[in-house]
Every structure is written in C-alpha cells, then in structure tokens.
C-alpha cells in the first residue's frame, strides 16, 4: 500500500457523495473512495504541504450527530460547513444546492476534539532535549515567554493527534525557574504552517507542590511571590518608564512585569495549576487582593472537595479526569468521580493532558471522556452522560480559554472543525474516517501509518525495506 502522497482538500462547489458507511473504514479506503469522484485533489509529495488549503462547502448527512455543547447525539443529523465555518447542524438541516455531500451512513459526526491542556508542538521527542521547547530553566525570562512563535506545526505528534480527531489544543509552557511559565497559545492541528488560533491566550502559573519548589521551597513563599509579582506588575502598569527591573527589590525584570499586566487587569486568563483542595482555596482567595483575575484551574484533582466554592467563583476547571490514586500528597483525595461531582456542582469542566505525555498523547481525550460515561454504571460513582462527556473535550475547553464562540461545537458560526468517525468516538476501537479543520479536509496519514504499511509484512521483498516508500 503506497501512501506517499498527502492529500489536501479538493475545491469547494463540486457535488460529490462519499458513502463512508460503504467504503472500507480506513483513511486509505476513504481517500480511495473520494478519489474516484470528480473532485480535484492536491496531491503533494511527502514532505509537507505548501499548497494553499481551501475551505470546502460540505454537508455531512445521515450522521449520528453530536453537537459538542452537552446535548445528546441525534440520529439522521446533518452538518453543513462553508467558508471554513459551521453553517448549520442538526436534524432536518437543508443542504444548499451545489454543496459537496458526504453520506455518513449512520456513522458518528462530532466537532473536532479539543485538548484542554497540552504541550503539543513544543516537543518532538520529549526526552531528546534538543527537540524539547516546553521549559527554559536557565532563561532570565518567565512570564514573558511566548510559545506561539515556536509551536511546530510539522511536529509528528501534531499529525498523529490529527489522525485521531484532535483538531485544536490549548498549549501551555512549563515552568523553568519561576512559578510563572509564560504565555500559552491555542492552536489548530491542521496540515499547514499556520497553527495559531490565538497567541498569548493565557498565562500559566504553578501553585502547588511544583510552585512551592519554584518559589524557593514553601507554599507560603509561593503565595507571597505570586502576590508581590502581581503588585510589581501593577507598578509597571502605573508607570512603565519608572519601573526598575534591576532594583534589588524587583522580582520581575521589565519584560516579565509587562507580561503580567494583562493578567492583573483580567484581560488575559490566568491558568493556575493547583491540585489539592487547600491550594485551590488559596488560589481562589487571591481574588480578594486581585479582583480582576480571570482564573482557570488546571489539575484540581481534589476539586470535588471544594466544588461549591469553585462553582461560586465561576472558575472553569481543566483536569485529567482519570486520576484516582494518592500519587502525591496533593492528590490524596483523587477519584475518577471528580469530574462528575464538579459538573454536578455547576462547574464547567474540561479534560486535558495534566498527567504527562502532554506533547504526545492528546488522543487520550476520547478515552478520558469515555471513562466518564463508564462511571454512570458504577454504583456510588458520579459520571457524565455521553453528551456531557463529549463537551469536556470540545466546547468546554474552548469556553474555558475564552474562545467558545470560535470553535469547539457544531453550533452555527463556529470553526468548521468536524470529524467523521468509523464508530462511537469514545470507544477505543474507533477512529476518524475524515477530519476537517476550518472547513479544510485533512490528510490522515503520518509517519506511524507509514511505518505500519512498510512493516505490514515484516520480511524483505526484492529490495530492502528502506526502498519501500
């Protein structure tokens, strides 16, 4: 099987029908069935696409359709995307004349999956230091660090995640020598060189065991450091010219002080990593002094213990979902029911890669969500309905980061990020058949699929394996 061509989108306006239910449910099968049609394909040699990607007008009909807003999936649904955006989605949606039509054959259609927390594009091989841009322990900068310019859209984990239906991700830097890590971004995982949905989308700070260590060794020092740094940012905002980043009292150099100004004013969300109930309360209490802080809690493994306080503070939570071990002293009360209990208390909960493999395994999102559904069948546990579970990996993370009007659901006007699956997307045996990002159909091969194809038969043929490509 040759897959040495990446297939980029066909032009819009050409009417075609692809029966995903009839074709073999592999990306190759899908590509083959598509290529039989009259659509124009841009076929680009492996390397990477430089041809401009064109957004399609496409309608996917006859789908088991999930909107991603928490509602339950419907049968016989249609989604129409045009000019890169969702035009309409639901039952009985009319397909405009001349729109390319894909018959889902009853299969599942969802918005693209959103990773609520990741470091994708910041590391190709995390343990290979040269490829790892997640943190900078020897840099003089912290809060001012901006990951947007260095997120690598050609990193293999981006393509691998895209193949699994992940279309957007929240990307956070990791701390180096300060409690503040810097400014994270929101990206799309499209096969192009423009990954940024929003640069400098949030500031990231550690406020637990890690934060304590970064602050010199105690939580008391951590809280004080946080407060004094924000006060110095306020000083900078009042009189930028007179702020002396070199004074012996300065905790922030000028650029880091400037970077924290939008945090203090609430113009930029502050994503706070805190796991324990007591650290969460300490973080919420910081609003007494800094009332404008636009907090987002990351981690919150013990969030269920203070769910009502988090809900009252209207702070969204991005969590790992499946933590259930006292793996550290800040996670003693870990339970998989954390998500369900928080949602029940009225907290907006998203899921992401809070527990490692944050640069690689964004595709765990569907497993995290599926397990929340599993909990509904476990006596005493608190889980989520299917629609609520999907929301934690689609619209909820988009809303948490302030971009709910841009992507994350199939509501009209949102980005045309759509996935057609070969089965229930929250089952581990399922996979995408087709993925659109901003209305552009995406290639679904990557170096893993190429390795798979090369070694489908492990023995050599008439030439060495190196010639099979």
């Amino acid at each position: 099987m040759k897959t040495n061509a990446l297939i980029l989108p066909f032009r819009s306006g050409l009417s075609r029908t692809v029966d995903a239910g009839r074709s073999r449910p592999t990306l190759l099968g899908f590509a083959r069935s598509c290529s039989k049609q009259t659509a124009v394909w841009f076929v680009v040699a492996a390397g990477f696409a430089t041809a401009p990607a064109l957004a399609q007008s496409v309608a996917i009909t006859n789908a088991t359709l999930a909107i991603g807003d928490g509602s339950e999936p419907i049968k016989g649904g249609t989604v129409v995307i045009s000019a890169g955006r969702v035009v309409a989605a639901g039952a009985g949606v009319a397909v405009p004349a001349g729109t390319t039509t894909v018959d889902a054959g009853g299969k599942w259609v969802t918005p693209g999956i959103v990773s609520g927390f990741s470091r994708v594009g910041l590391a190709e091989v995390p343990a290979v230091r040269e490829t790892n841009d997640t943190s900078a322990g020897r840099s003089p900068f912290s809060a001012a660090i901006d990951v947007a310019p260095v997120i690598n859209p050609l990193a293999n984990p981006i393509a691998i995640s895209r193949t699994a239906g992940i279309t957007r991700a929240v990307v956070a830097p990791a701390t180096g020598s300060s409690i503040f890590a810097g400014q994270g971004a929101v990206v799309d995982l499209g096969s192009d060189l423009n990954p940024i949905t929003k640069a400098r989308a949030f500031q990231y700070v550690e406020m637990g065991e890690t934060g304590s260590a970064e602050a010199g060794g105690s939580r008391a020092a951590m809280i004080l450091t946080f407060r004094m740094m924000l006060r110095q940012a306020q000083e900078f905002a009042r009189a930028p010219a007179s702020y002396d980043g070199n004074s012996k009292d300065a905790l922030l150099n000028r650029v880091d002080a400037e970077a924290l100004v939008p945090v203090v004013t609430g113009a930029m969300p502050l994503m706070v990593h805190a796991e324990s109930a007591r650290d969460i309360l300490a973080v919420l209490a910081l609003r007494q002094e800094f009332s404008a802080l636009k907090l987002v809690l990351a981690g919150a493994t013990e969030g269920w213990m203070v769910a009502s306080q988090i809900a009252a503070a209207k702070v969204p939570v991005i969590t790992a979902g499946l933590e259930d071990l006292p793996s550290s002293f800040e996670k003693l009360a870990a339970t998989q029911s954390n998500v369900g209990r928080l949602v029940k208390a009225g907290v907006s909960v998203s899921m992401g890669m809070l527990t490692g493999d944050d640069a690689l395994q964004l595709r765990a999102a569907t497993q995290q969500a599926g397990n929340m559904v599993a909990l509904t069948k476990v006596p005493g546990a608190t889980g989520l309905s299917w629609g609520q579970a999907l929301r934690t990996i689609t619209s909820a993370p988009a809303e948490a980061i302030g971009l709910g009007d841009r992507f994350g659901s199939l509501r009209a006007g949102r980005a045309g990020d759509v996935v057609l699956w070969d089965g229930d997307p929250l089952e581990m045996t399922s996979a995408p058949v087709a993925v659109w990002i901003d209305g552009v159909q995406q290639p679904l091969d990557n170096r893993q699929t190429r390795l798979r194809d090369r070694y489908a038969t492990p023995t050599e043929g008439s030439l060495p394996k190196a010639y099979e490509w």
Partner: protein, 465 residues
C-alpha cells in the same frame, strides 16, 4: 532447601551406604562455602492463602476463556478456590450455590499484568518510597524486587477494582543492564509482601537494553555509555555466570554470590528473562547473545519495534509485552505504532499487553482495545475472545504460571472477572472480581473495596475510585 544444601544431604546419605570412596568423591564435589548448608532454597516463601469463597455460579454471560475460546450464554462454576465447570447454557448447576445471573455481561479470567512497578514505585511517589532501581551499578542481578515492595500501595486496589487485575509481575526498573529478580504476586492486599506472593511462581530476571543503562552510567562517567558498552558488559557478566554455574552444577567449592546465583538460575532455566528492549535491532542482538550463552529470553518488554521483527520473535519463541499506543517519549520509542500488538499477533508470535504504569494497569482492557481496533482497520481480523489472550494466557505463559491461572479451565485458580459489559468497551468496568474463588471486589458493596493503610483515616478513604 537450596541446591548446595540438597547436595550435602545427598553426600551424607551416600556416605552412609556407599562407604569411604563415595564420601570422598562427594566431599570434593560438595561446596564447602560458608554456611551454605543452612540456607534454604526459598528463603522468602509465600505465605499467601486464598481467602474463603462461596461456591458460585455465573450464568448467562458471554465468556472469553482467556485461551481464545468464547461461550455465549455460558456458565462458570467456582468452588474451593478453583474453576470447577465452564460450559454452555446446559451446564448443570449444583444446588446450594450462589447463583449470579449475568445475562448481558461478560466473564473473563482475571487480567494479568506482566510489567508493573506497584509496590516498588508506589503511591505517593515520594523519594522515600522510590525503591525500583538500584542505580548504583549496571549489574545488580543480586537485588530482588520483592524486597522493595510496599504492600500499602493503593495502586494494587485500583488495579483490582478498575482493571480486574488478579496477578501481576513486579519488576525492578530499567536503569541497569541486569536489574534484579522480579516477583509475581496475587493481587490480594496483605500485611507483607510474602502474603501476596504467588505460590510457586518462578522469579524473573529484569534486563534492559538501550538508552537507560547507557544514560544512567554514561552520565556518571562509567561503563556502559554506549550500546556497544551495554552488550560488552552483558557478555562479560554472562561469561562469569557460566563459570559460576558450571562450578555450582559440578558441586565445586566457590564463595556464594547472590548475583551469580541469579544468573546461574537463568542459565538453568529456573528464572525467566524479562528484557526491557525497544528497538528491533537491539532485540536481535539480545537474541544472539542468549544463544551465545545458552539462555532463553521469555519476553521482550515494551518491544515498541517488535512489529519490525515479528518473524524473528516467532521463530525464537519470544513473547512481546507491549503498550496499546505509547510512542515517541524517548528516542528509542520513536517508531511506536498502534498496530504493534496485532502485527505481532498476526505473525504468529506471542503478544501481550502490559502497563508499566499505575494508571495504565487500571485499563489494560482499553489498551488492548486500541490495538484491536487499529489492527482491524488494517485488515487484521482478530476476534474479541482471541484478543483477550493478550491479557490472560499469554502473560501467564510468559511468567510460568499458565498451569495455574490465565484461563477459565477446570482445575485452575478461580481468578475471575465479571464485567458489566463487553470489556473492550470504554463504558465497561469490573462488577465483581474473584481471586482463588474469594470475592475481593464487588462494585455493589462499598466494603468489598480495599483501603490500604496509607489511605485509612485520610481524606478520600473508602471513596469510590
């Protein structure tokens, strides 16, 4: 009683019957090393005893027997700690048993994880409890993982309740070329490691290829710092081990050496080799090395590139213990693919899904589902019941316990999971788990849920996890 002890006993008996000549011969051959006669062969014996169970029948479930068989609307009968009957709907059901109607549910043998560090890297993951790598020398076959195990690791209880894990092998870490001996446990909480030890299970020897040993010791300015260094240190060690083993087998005098005893036991086939190895080319080197020194590799662990040499692994009868979808976190994992498990399986080699992770061990069924789905998408049609062998009989064989557990066959240990749906579904969880016929997890009974000492009296203790 150990080998030398046994030999001395034989010598004494022979001396009594065969006279001075025999006595002289045996005196020459019997080791006279210090205290050897006082040392038992099994100095840290299992004290595990099955807990009491009620004779129980599970009726109406879909059964995956763990060896690739499937029975719809089946009957499983557990009594006296053993599987006493398995069959279709017509299987006779004795009177006076607990009858569990299991229509719509699934029954499997308990999940076996061949690669775990529960207990030697327990929760909480603080330095004071970090006991998995004796990273002070690349050659530490004298250390035993069982001596690091903290039975109060809550991870055991989660592996049982959420993962249906009934037996597991605890290995030393992979910092060293020769990491030490592994131990196999029944997943039953106990006050001591001995109380969990799987009676009669062979020990393993953890070995490691590749990046870890060369990084750990290279960074200390020591050998090995390269892959060729890894192999050289391995070979030098095996040369010594062969000499030790020959002398021991011949009953010759030598100072007792714990490291060499482990390796001699490997050479005699009593200890099974579990070799952490990612890359195809390195696995091939290890296979040649095993032939050079006359030992057998039971299983390559992680084996991220097993799919590239699935034919070689089949020919050499070596199992691969693999993840469902881990890849790329380090250089030697760069070529990991989701189809690894099904490709190895299709080639006719032994495939196992393992965790190496306190979270992954709770979802080995889902990890297997990832591999199963990926395989099917590339046209490898493996049925659910055959895929269950990756979690049952295959690891049991690789660990040397397949005659006692790993499948639902009459006479085997009643290590059984009742799942509330198809266990390859994300929506499915264990409903009940029996180990040796004792009900040790019951999702409907909060008291049938382990709370280890570390958790007791803490926030969250006894919560549904």
């Amino acid at each position: 009683m150990n080998r030398t002890g046994r030999m001395l006993l034989v010598a004494t008996l022979l001396a009594g019957v065969a006279g001075p000549l025999a006595a002289k011969k045996d005196k020459e051959e019997a080791p006279a090393s210090q205290g050897s006669s006082a040392e038992p062969e099994n100095p840290y014996p299992s004290t595990y005893k099955p807990y009491p169970g009620r004779p129980t029948v599970l009726r109406g479930a879909t059964i995956f027997d763990g060896e690739g068989g499937r029975i719809d609307n089946g009957v499983v009968f557990l009594s006296d700690g053993k599987v006493t009957a398995v069959g279709g709907p017509d299987t006779p059901i004795p009177a006076d048993v607990l009858l569990i109607e299991a229509q719509g549910k699934y029954v499997t043998p308990g999940v076996i994880d061949i690669h775990s560090h529960l207990g030697d890297y327990p929760s909480p993951g603080v330095d004071a409890l970090s006991d998995g790598n004796e990273a002070t020398s690349p050659v530490t076959p004298h250390v035993w993982a069982e001596h690091s195990i903290w039975p109060q690791d809550a991870g055991f209880t989660r592996a049982l309740a959420n993962g249906g894990v009934t037996s597991l092998q605890i290995l030393p870490g992979s910092a060293n070329l020769f990491g030490g001996r592994s131990v196999t446990l029944k997943n039953v909480p106990a006050r001591t490691m001995q109380g969990m030890k799987f009676p009669g299970a062979p020990q393993g020897l953890k070995m490691a290829c590749g990046e870890n040993p060369k990084r750990v010791y290279g960074s200390k300015g020591r050998e090995p710092s390269t892959r060729m260094g890894n192999m050289a240190v391995n070979r030098q060690t095996w040369i010594k081990a062969r000499e030790y083993q020959k002398k021991r087998a011949a009953g010759k005098d030598q100072t007792r050496d714990l490291a060499m005893e482990t390796l001699a036991d490997v050479l005699e086939g009593k200890i099974l080799v579990h070799n952490h190895c990612y890359r195809a080319d390195e696995m091939a080197n290890v296979i040649d090395m095993s032939k050079e020194f006359g030992y057998k590799v039971s299983t390559f662990h992680h084996a991220v590139e097993a799919y590239k040499i699935a034919d070689l692994l089949r020919e050499n009868g070596i199992c691969s213990a693999m993840w469902g979808d881990w890849y790329g976190f380090k250089m030697e994992a760069y070529d990991g693919i989701k189809e690894n498990v099904p490709l190895v399986h299709r080639a006719g080699a032994c495939a196992i899904v393992h965790s190496d992770d306190q979270d992954g061990i709770q979802r080995l069924n889902q990890e297997a589902a990832k591999a199963l789905g990926a395989g099917r998408r590339m046209g490898i049609d493996i049925s659910d019941e055959v895929a269950w062998t990756w979690l049952a009989i295959n690891p049991a064989r690789a660990m040397g316990i397949a005659d006692r557990t790993g499948s639902l066959k009459v006479g085997k240990m009643a290590d059984v999971v009742l799942w509330n749906g198809n266990p390859f579904s994300t929506y499915t969880r264990p409903e009940k788990v029996w180990i040796d016929g004792a009900l040790l997890y019951d999702s409907t009974d909060p008291k049938r849920r382990g709370v280890v000492d570390f958790e007791l009296g803490q926030i969250g203790a006894g919560d549904v996890k």
